[in-house]
Symmetry: C2
Subunit: 272 residues, 2 copies
């Protein structure tokens, strides 16, 4: 594969579009804007295409979450395929699939995400250990964002007790032999983001939880900022894609994306 590493490609898209914004493509048929009457998988694909066309010069990445497509069965997976085709080559795709399995099975998931779907990066779970990430990491031109500290209340069940999330961050930073590991850190965790950054100084962060989930983008971007290009990506889904439920949804998505982009840029430390 003759392409630069994922985080370089991400950084290039960030620079070109002056944007830290990743738009989450998580379409729920029931929530499609009014013009979509059938609310089937084909409508989902059309909706996504319009969102992408309206925002592609304002984002650094798109992040479709696989669950939304899988819930629609085979037709949903076709809609995912159509969606990926609509995304310009210069904008990286993060497959938010949160996969995690052992040995030869992890290799099959890596193959599904990086070959069958040809995504630029993936999200994976750390619970099964570093050996289970290896098949993903071996695709050295791709990015592997590992769940570290999530934005939901349940992060208090196993992640924050005894600071497991810091242990995860440290072990991943140590195990990042190809430089293609990133961490998923929820933007709602603003008190803890800086400690994760300390634990993994060189790993880029993917920050979900801004927008509908209410995380502070300011605290997230400042706390997460790191030395590497591509060190911060902020994901927003619903607050962009469902900015309007009417016929002006694409224009409304563009305006929302533009606002988030400008806001996030304003938090970038001086002299980046």
């Amino acid at each position: 594969m003759e392409q630069p590493p994922f985080f370089d490609r991400l950084a290039a898209a960030q620079k070109r579009n002056r944007s830290l914004l990743c738009v989450g493509l998580d379409p729920d048929p029931a929530k499609l804007p009014a013009p979509f009457k059938r609310r089937d998988a084909a409508d989902v694909a059309r909706f996504n295409r319009e969102i992408v066309e309206a925002t592609a010069d304002l984002v650094c990445a798109y992040k479709p979450n696989w669950a939304f497509y899988e819930a629609m069965g085979l037709e949903g997976m076709k809609a995912l395929d159509t969606t990926l085709e609509a995304i310009p080559d210069a904008i990286p795709v993060i497959a938010d699939a949160k996969r995690g399995d052992i040995g030869n099975t992890a290799a099959k998931y890596a193959r599904a995400i990086f070959e069958t779907w040809n995504a630029d990066a993936v999200t994976v779970s750390p619970y099964l250990g570093l050996d289970t990430l290896e098949p993903f990491l071996e695709y050295r031109d791709r990015g592997v964002y590992v769940l570290c500290l999530t934005s939901n209340p349940g992060s208090a069940d196993f992640q924050t007790p005894r600071r497991l999330y810091l242990d995860v961050a440290r072990k991943l930073a140590l195990g990042d032999k190809y430089g293609n590991i990133g961490l998923v850190v929820g933007a709602t965790q603003s008190r803890r983001i800086a400690s994760v950054r300390q634990a993994a100084p060189r790993c880029p962060f993917l920050l979900p939880g801004v927008g509908s989930q209410g995380g502070s983008a300011r605290a997230a971007v400042r706390g997460a900022w790191g030395e590497r290009p591509g060190s911060v990506v902020v994901n927003v889904a619903r607050a962009v894609t469902y900015a309007s439920s009417q016929g002006d949804f694409a224009q409304a998505a563009r305006e929302a994306a533009s606002r988030f982009r400008r806001e996030f840029e304003s938090y970038v430390p001086e002299g980046r």
Copy 2:
């Protein structure tokens, strides 16, 4: 949904076939027996059908691992569909998908597994916390096997330090309000299985790692045995499905399944 709870249906299949054996349907096109020349998704579906027909009276469940089908793209998902159709209604299907995501996304995965695919049970990851399992648990007639202690070396990265796996087992046992949580415990972890059983006395266990991975079935069945019907399921994949690489693969699979079934039954404590 007018059906008994998953663990009752599993126990009924165990009783009917006198078997704790679950056969993992994890077909790798490259490893299909010699008669399958094309080694495509359609061959995979045909292979699975023959394995199922040869073993359905010897097992208590089938466990297809989603990764193997996803790696073949849309055609692979069709092969999964055909495979599920070939499994008799009386034999429960455990969707080994190891999903895990937050909030409305978890609900989409639950819908995909339990409605689109209509599986009887699923495997999920605990890392994101109990609130993320809730959308799965709400399907009260289905089973939710949560990863607790896995069979791979990487289980030593996060699961066994500070005995996180016991914390996972305890919290899940406490949170099992509908009685449909099970735990995945690797059979290679024979020294630790009894401690997991103590931490979660009523949760049924799914034990992978016997067969090709080399776990001791005796230690696993004895250590995992619990008070509830369906408390122990032992998964074997490759050692059954690839018992022969030649034209006699179905008969060889039947013989291997029969041996495992008899072996596992011999470890059941007296007066079960």
